[in-house]
Amino acid sequence: MAELVYSYYPGCALHSSSKEYDISTRLVCEALGIELRELEGWICCGASSAHTTSDLLGLALPAQTLKIAEESDLPLVVPCAMCFSRLKFTIAGLKDNATRNDINKALDEELGQEIEVESLLKVLDGKTISIPVTKPLTGLKVACYYGCLLVRPLEVTSLDDIENPTMMDGLVQNLGAESIDWDFKTECCGAGLPIARPDMVLDLSYQILSQAKSLGADCVAVACPMCHSNLDMQQKKMKSEDGQRLNLPILYFTQLIGLALGLSAKELALRKHFINPLPMLRDKGLA
């Protein structure tokens, strides 16, 4: 029997473009004795489209999912950084009486204030549970990339230092890998603009990846489907001035845990990435 039981809110991305994040999350949690119960009837958090259209809409959509979570009576774990951020913003909003009234009115429900929402990264960072590493990621240099939404604003997410977070770095070090000391951990990759302004996403993501590359990173670890799609899917369109491609694999941190637990590349859906990490991992004897 699992020791830890969480309600699980995968969010839209993990059901489509980021299936491998969902797959690896479920596998790793199972291996670590964490039971995930996917919320029945969860809905989209509205992402930035909702809150930049209307404050209330941006709070009411996550609130609907929070309501379902509240009824489950279990703490809610959220892998997607965007969903996590929107849920946390909603929880912050519920603390204000006027805002809570509006949210309740929009839902025709009464929401409590004590709904526990945790990011998957926090649950798996090795402090809540211990990770029995069987295949240490020796020799792997990882650039841990946190993006914006996990850490900012600090008052809302209260997860880690906003300029130099170290939670994921500590985790990959525990897995036997080396984490590089770099300065773009929380610089934005272009967020939700890949369809509307792909030019900007390429500029911003390239800058992040090229610093990681120049410092000798073998791969970048992420905890956000949006960051992943920008850094991975768009990467083949990025070239340096002399035409060099980066060819830097982008892995979900859950996939790194999976590898260290001895799960196979196939199980962890490593092939779903546009930048194939397998040659690099084979080189290092890790896959």
Binding site: I162, E163, N164, D181, D183, F184, E187, Q211, S214
Partner: protein, 665 residues
């Protein structure tokens, strides 16, 4: 029978602009015992005071109420005016209709007027119950204590000593000199800091009226103006300074190096050390937390790890046997008539700024670290090099307001000296290496001061420093370069500079421990932990606690000339106090009615000043008696006295209740 006169002040438009004075005057005329009411444009002016004096005489007034500014402002002024008419100065009450009324209720004139009437009514009710009070004369100790041996404290100590009074100068560090000793040059004249400071330090050491206690700390203060009793901790140096000649053999031979606090970790010192070559006293201390022999001794007790060498080299090389391993901390008890607090500042800890690397980037340094690099007696002997690789920087970026004007890190104030020291640094860097290009990111270039703006022009026109208006948001590393991301706010474009060295113009934070010291001394500090003056303009070196004075940056950011002026100003106040032969005590003290006292001595327990003692009455009952010289008039005993035997002159139960009753009825 009281005959009360009421004077309502317009304070120009300050009160009259909000409060309808004529309504207040009419209302005051109807109050019990009021026989005369008048309003004045400025009651505190000479004319206003003359009116009070004349009116008291002409109308045989025996109580006075003044509706004006806060009693904290002019109570003494008006007491003197009342006294000049031959009335006891304590038969006066002030209704605060400015700070507590017109200035805070300017949005509702009707309500403000009604409140002003109430405040006058309360004062009239209270003053009717005032009694004549008479101050006493007490002797005083003609000796001053100066806390803090930076430039402000040094100046204050020298000026007091030159005026012929004894001074104890207490400094926490092993040397005096403070922050100024760490500077290479000073703006706007580029005098060598050591050249102008060290002679003053030597004067302190040699002055017959000055007792210098370095490596020492004030622990406890009791007593009051004229007679403070102070407990000072003299930390052990493990070196007998009476025997030591300061020859330097010990610190040359000591094998244990640690990062130098004086050089902000840019260089090393030994564990037996003087902080810098011109230190005063020029005799060393042993740093007990790093000394090998101390570790050797401690090791035998808990036996962890490898046994360290016994060492004791300093002891062996000392020609005068001055090293004294048995020396202990010592407590010194002294009496002082006055105290000057000159505790200065430390530079803001920039590790709070994660976006500037949070202290992780070796080539991002502070202004004071740059001073140490430029100083000929510094860790690099005046060579400006990058701490990371020892190369000579060619592109240097300065970032202003690090730890200043930033609410986000809890510091909304301007540190006042940074704009000028950045200008100084750019000029000095150019002198060190003409190939250096400096960039200065400023928010506002504040150069108020004699010759300051001209100096800033010189930085830009002669030293070629490029000034860019904008706050830096991030520094990231790109190979050996520090990439500095800013906004050229004048052009309206984001800008990046690839720097070899970044200098943070860190602001001023009050010194560590200042809050504890302020609490020991019973003086106030603000939200930024800077000490509060009795009045920001008119009493800039006094505190609300008589006999305690302030000097230098402990009060708020200021530069060297201002610190020197401030130190001298505090000294004048001290000299003024110590030049008196007796002091007048405040008569607003507690008094016991022995007939009512049941001898429970609750009052004795609560009195923080041990001003209550026991006496036996003629009928053999033990009763409490107040020592009026020790009593500070806090009234704790009054509130603790169950049978109601104690009362407080000036704030009697009757007076305070009269205020309540007059207001409610």
């Amino acid at each position: 029978m009281s005959r009360i006169g009421v004077f309502v002040c317009h304070c120009g438009r300050n009160i009259a602009g909000t409060v309808d004075i004529s309504t207040v005057v009419e209302a005051a005329k109807k109050l019990p015992n009021v026989v005369y009411v008048e309003d004045n444009k400025y009651t505190c002016s000479e004319v206003g005071q003359d009116v009070i004096k004349k009116t008291i005489e002409e109308n045989q007034l025996n109580r006075v109420v003044i509706g004006a500014c806060s009693p904290r402002m002019h109570e003494n002024t008006f007491r003197k005016a009342v006294a000049s008419a031959g009335l006891n100065p304590y038969l006066l009450e002030i209704a605060n209709i400015r700070e507590h009324c017109s200035w805070v209720h300017s949005d509702d004139k009707e309500k403000a007027t009604a409140k002003a009437i109430d405040l006058v009514k309360m004062a009239v009710a209270k003053v009717a119950r005032h009694q004549e009070l008479f101050p006493k004369q007490v002797g005083l100790t003609k000796r001053a204590l100066v806390i803090g041996g930076g430039i402000s404290g040094i100046q204050a100590a020298l000026d007091i000593a030159d005026a012929g009074h004894e001074v104890f100068l207490v400094e926490r560090e092993p040397t005096i000199g403070g922050r100024m000793a760490q500077l290479d040059k000073t703006f706007p004249t580029l005098d060598c800091s050591a050249c102008i400071l060290t002679p003053k330090m030597v004067d302190v050491a040699q002055h017959p009226n000055i007792t210098l206690l370095t490596y020492a700390q004030v622990l406890k203060v009791s007593g009051f103006k004229g007679n403070f009793e102070v407990e000072i901790l003299q930390k052990t140096r493990l070196v007998d300074h009476d025997k030591c000649t300061g020859c330097g053999s010990c610190w040359q031979k000591c094998p244990q190096k640690v990062a130098s606090e004086f050089d902000f970790g840019l260089g090393n010192r030994k564990t037996i050390y003087i902080p810098f070559p011109q230190a005063i006293p020029n005799k060393p201390v042993i740093d007990t937390s790093n000394c090998r022999y101390i570790k050797y001794q401690g090791w035998e007790k808990d036996s962890k790890g490898k046994k360290p060498p016994e060492c004791r080299i300093c002891e062996k090389v000392c020609p005068t046997d001055a090293v004294d391993w048995g020396q202990k901390d010592e407590i010194i008890n002294e009496k002082f008539g006055a105290i000057v607090v000159a505790t200065g500042f430390k530079t803001f800890d920039h590790t709070t700024y994660g976006e500037y690397g949070g202290g992780r980037y070796p080539d991002v340094i502070t202004g004071l670290q740059l001073e140490r690099l430029m100083s000929a007696s510094g860790p690099t002997e005046g060579e400006v090099i990058r701490p990371s690789d020892g190369t000579h920087p060619k592109t240097v970026v300065f970032i202003s307001c690090v730890g200043s004007r930033d609410d986000h890190i809890g510091r909304s104030y301007c540190s006042k000296v940074c704009c000028m020291y950045m200008a100084k640094h750019t000029i000095m860097l150019k002198e060190h290496d003409p190939d250096i290009q400096s960039y200065v990111f400023y928010i506002d270039n504040r150069t108020g001061g004699k010759g300051y703006e001209e100096f800033s022009r010189r930085a830009q026109e002669e030293a070629g420093a490029l000034y860019l208006r904008g706050r830096i948001s991030k520094i990231y590393r790109d190979g050996p370069k520090m990439m500095v991301c800013g906004d050229d706010a004048l052009m309206g474009r984001p800008v990046q500079i690839a720097a070899d060295l970044v200098v943070l113009a860190t602001g001023m934070d009050p010194s560590d421990g200042v809050v504890e010291l302020a609490q020991t001394l019973n003086i106030s500090y603000d939200t930024n932990r800077f000490l509060i003056e009795a009045h920001p303009k008119l009493r800039p070196v006094e505190t609300q606690t008589s006999g305690i004075f302030l000097a230098g940056v402990a009060v708020g950011p200021r530069d060297i000339p201002d610190c020197v002026a401030h130190g001298s100003a505090a000294a004048v106040k001290v000299v003024g106090l110590l030049s008196q032969d007796t002091l007048t005590t405040d008569p607003m003290t507690s008094i016991v009615d022995p007939a009512k006292c049941v001898g429970c001595f609750m009052c004795e327990d609560v009195c923080p000043f041990s001003a209550i003692y026991r006496e036996t009455t003629r009928d053999g009952r033990p009763v409490a008696i107040i020592n009026e010289t020790l009593c500070t008039g806090c009234g704790l005993c009054v509130a603790s006295c169950r049978p109601g035997a104690i009362d407080l002159h000036g704030y009697t139960n009757q007076q305070l209740l009269a205020e309540v009753v007059s207001l409610c009825r």
